[in-house]
């Protein structure tokens, strides 16, 4: 279970930063930054960049997604922005518009 859960009714007008894992179902009008995994649920809406260790996206993101390990676009996901991650999957039914950079060399 994620350390931080933002459920569907909640709106954050600003940035969210955490060392622990995040599960986002609500709306975030700002950046999301975590040193752990980020799960973005089907109802979630994020209007800025997302950075984490692993990012699983089923909701909507308008911004760049940056992950140290991997990014997964699940069915129903909607991403407008660039992806930077060593591993990247796009499921059937995901909507993606942007560039991908998998040549990520970082010391971790």
């Amino acid at each position: 279970m994620a350390e931080t859960i933002i459920s569907s009714g909640l709106i954050i007008d600003g940035n969210l930063q955490s060392d622990g894992s995040l599960r986002l179902e609500g709306r975030i009008e700002g950046c999301v930054d975590s040193n752990s995994s980020i799960e973005i649920g089907p109802g979630a809406h994020i209007t800025s960049d997302v950075a984490g260790k692993r990012v699983a996206l089923a909701g909507s993101v308008a911004g760049n997604v940056d992950a140290r390990e991997r990014v997964d676009l699940l069915a129903g996901a909607r991403l407008t922005g660039d992806v930077r991650a060593p591993r990247f999957t796009i499921a059937d039914g995901a909507n993606f518009r942007g560039k991908v950079d998998m040549e990520v060399n970082r010391g971790d």
Binding site: I5, G9, I11, G14, Q17, P42
Partner: protein
């Protein structure tokens, strides 16, 4: 790697989480981390032991076991636990502060009656001491009861009920006016009651036993009792 919706509605801001910005919306929220901004939601808010909110909080029910620097406004209530610390004003219909909690700020409770003055308790107390007839006291007590009952519904009901039990409302208004003018005249350092008042004829039961330091409430009540 499927993502299913969380079974429970409540949100949790974890211990390492930091939000720089405001939080709004609806649903319960537990804050174990740090929020630099305002939290305005419809739902319950719990600021856990190590949680911090540097900003105002406005929610239905708020429990504070951590630190809040900002005003706290609860639609239903506020509970400050022993470990809680609030630097800001508290406003809620019900506020509970446990022993050990640190609160610095003003406190306002019972917001649903904030716009309304209680029905002048000074008026009621001397009634038992003296002058007026028992029947008056009874009615007076009844009136106070009705005011208490109708407090949540507001002034209009109170007024109409009082009218039903207490004669026409213009009389009530006159009484108030008279009392106000008397208070004014007292403030200008005249201890004797103002002359020319219709209630001050010497034949009246209260007027007779009056000391130079008049007890206004008894006075007013006596006048009313007499008129009735």
């Amino acid at each position: 790697m499927a993502i299913e919706r969380p079974a429970k509605m409540s949100s949790v801001l974890g211990a390492t989480a930091v939000v720089i910005g405001n939080i709004r919306g609806e649903g319960d929220l537990e804050i174990r981390g740090k929020v630099q901004g305002d939290v305005h939601t419809r739902g319950r808010i719990l600021i856990a032991d190590q949680g911090q909110v540097l900003g105002s909080i406005d929610a239905t029910q708020i429990t504070v076991a951590g630190l809040v620097r900002g005003n706290v406004n609860g639609q239903d209530g506020i509970q400050v636990e022993a470990s809680g610390q609030i630097e800001g004003d508290l406003a809620a219909p019900r506020v509970g502060i446990e022993a050990g909690a640190r609160v610095r700020g003003s406190l306002r409770t019972g917001m649903e009656v904030s716009g309304k003055q209680p029905p002048e308790p000074a008026d009621e107390e001397p009634a038992s001491l003296g002058g007026p007839k028992a029947s008056t006291r009874l009615i007076e007590g009844k009136k106070q009861l009705s005011v208490k009952e109708s407090r949540s519904t507001g002034q209009a009901v109170d007024e109409s009920q009082a009218e039903a039990e207490d004669g026409p409302s213009y009389e009530k208004k006159r009484r108030r006016k008279r009392k106000a003018s008397r208070k004014k005249s007292e403030a200008s350092a005249t201890n004797s009651p103002p002359s020319g008042e219709p209630t001050e004829s010497p034949g009246q039961n209260v007027g007779a036993g009056h000391s130079p330091q008049p007890m206004i409430p008894t006075f007013v009540k006596g006048a009313k009792g007499h008129r009735r």
